[in-house]
């Protein structure tokens, strides 16, 4: 067994991430701890290790949302409705080092802003050819890619008239449970971004920029689909050189 406890990760900056209590996003009010977190001064293999998903068996279309939920009914089977997009990027750590073979998972609403979920009862219809879930492993250089349709914005009960900007939920594991991160990718230029109470849980406008996918015309395909680049930066692994405290 390789030991995982001779490494360290850059401390997570909790002022950069959204605070637990962010009353503009009302659901945080009763779901945020009020006591201080206990800082783990000497993280062990229980924090520094994490699962490696290289052997997880995936289907051929797990990262292709245009194809991975086609209707069974032949007559209806086709492509989902909406703007065809490639969402791609690189998983790197805070030192710019690529993170290969790590699990990237994503989920989203359809082009009308409706989720395929028992609990979503929004007026916009389900799309018989769209599920809204994808996953893949980053390649040897940390690149990941999905093909999907651009999700629609949708209203939600927070303020009287709150709308979520178009977004894709993105989950990444990285080399350790310490690097685990779930975020949302927004689309560059969306006027709903600065109006969103969930975006506003972040205090630093620069932090919002880290969640913005950028239109990348070079990677788009003519007569086919646009491309958005979204790099995922996870906690950096620090080399430890001085083991002995004496």
């Amino acid at each position: 067994m390789p030991r995982n406890d001779n490494k360290r990760f850059v401390e997570r900056d909790r002022n950069w991430h959204p605070p637990a209590y962010a009353p503009g996003y009302k659901t945080t009010v009763a779901r945020s701890p009020s006591q201080a977190y206990v800082s783990m001064q000497a993280p062990s293999v229980s924090e520094l290790g994490g699962p490696d998903f290289t052997r997880l068996r995936m289907g051929p279309h797990d990262n292709d949302l245009l194809l991975n939920f086609r209707a069974d009914n032949e007559a209806q089977s086709g492509l989902p409705i909406g703007e065809r997009v490639i969402v791609f990027g690189r998983v790197i750590d805070q030192f710019g080092k690529p993170v290969p073979n790590t699990l990237v998972e994503m989920w989203q609403a359809n082009a009308g802003g409706r989720y395929r979920h028992k609990k979503d009862g929004y007026l916009a219809p389900l799309d018989p050819n769209f599920g809204g879930v994808g996953r893949c492993l980053s390649d040897d250089e940390g690149w990941y890619r999905f093909r999907t349709v651009k999700p629609g914005p949708y209203p939600w009960p927070n303020d009287i008239n709150s709308w979520r900007p178009a977004h894709i939920h993105v989950s990444v594991m990285g080399p350790s449970i310490s690097t685990r991160l779930i975020t949302q990718m927004y689309f560059e230029g969306d006027p709903l971004i600065p109006l969103c109470p969930i975006v506003h849980t972040l205090r630093d406008p620069e932090a919002v920029e880290t969640m913005t996918g950028r239109l990348d015309m070079a990677r788009s395909r003519s007569m086919d689909c646009l491309a958005y680049r979204f790099d995922l930066v996870i906690r950096g692994e620090v080399q430890t050189y001085f083991e002995n405290q004496g």
Binding site: R31, A42, R55, E105, I182, D231
Partner: protein, 210 residues
């Protein structure tokens, strides 16, 4: 065009991508069955151990409770634990008898009770050689949780190991330490440990930063 966080912010370091809540529809992405979606070839779920796994088969169950005392019925939990010998099985492989990683969820249908089928973990040593009591690391994601909360589940019937555990002892308040101890019940054929996670207020669970 590059995002600002792919340019160095300090001399040598980039900023982490910011966290956002996993939201109410997290199941579509990470718990397909609960969203009502068909399974893919392999899914990551709550059975960490098969009957062939070494060690004592157990169930871990619990609820997630908010600051009003109400059940959180849309939480997703991730577990990370050692095997019966105190080793982490990092290579996730559903053909293997035991995996160190799993997921579960609280829903309206299961009355807000999550569950893991696993084995009791062995003791794990820190780098300084001190043994930690058997424990399971849990991460909680949900609507209204902006970044996952980390806690540890310990076992009530490991009193001696718990008393010596350097991580439990790092929790200054002995009262709060108790929030990390799962209580033992006799389940169907195997022991069941109950661990309620209180997000806020009276009896608030200890959450860790690491």
């Amino acid at each position: 065009m590059q995002q600002p966080n792919s340019q160095p912010c300090a001399a040598t370091m980039l900023r982490e991508t910011a966290s956002q809540t996993a939201g109410p529809y997290v199941h579509i992405g990470l718990a397909l069955d609960i969203a009502g979606l068909p399974p893919r070839e392999e899914e990551i779920w709550n059975r960490l151990a098969s009957p062939e796994a070494d060690g004592e088969a157990i169930e871990l169950v619990g609820r997630v409770i908010d600051g009003n005392g109400d059940l959180v019925r849309d939480a997703l939990l991730e577990a990370w634990q050692a095997d019966a010998h105190g080793n982490y099985q990092c290579e996730f492989d559903l053909q293997a008898p035991f995996n160190s990683f799993g997921r579960t969820a609280t829903t309206v249908e299961n009355d807000g009770e999550w569950c893991f089928h696993t084995i009791k973990p062995g003791q794990v040593a820190r780098r300084d050689g001190r043994l930690m009591a058997p424990h399971v690391t849990l991460a909680v994601f949900a609507r209204g949780i902006n970044i996952q909360l980390h806690t540890r589940l310990y076992f009530e019937d490991e009193a001696e190991a718990n008393a010596a555990c350097p991580v439990l002892n790092a929790v200054e308040s002995p009262t709060r330490r108790q929030t990390l101890i799962a209580t033992r019940e006799e389940g169907e054929g195997k022991p069941r440990y109950r661990f309620d996670i209180r997000l806020q207020g009276e009896g608030e669970t200890v959450f860790f930063d690491f």
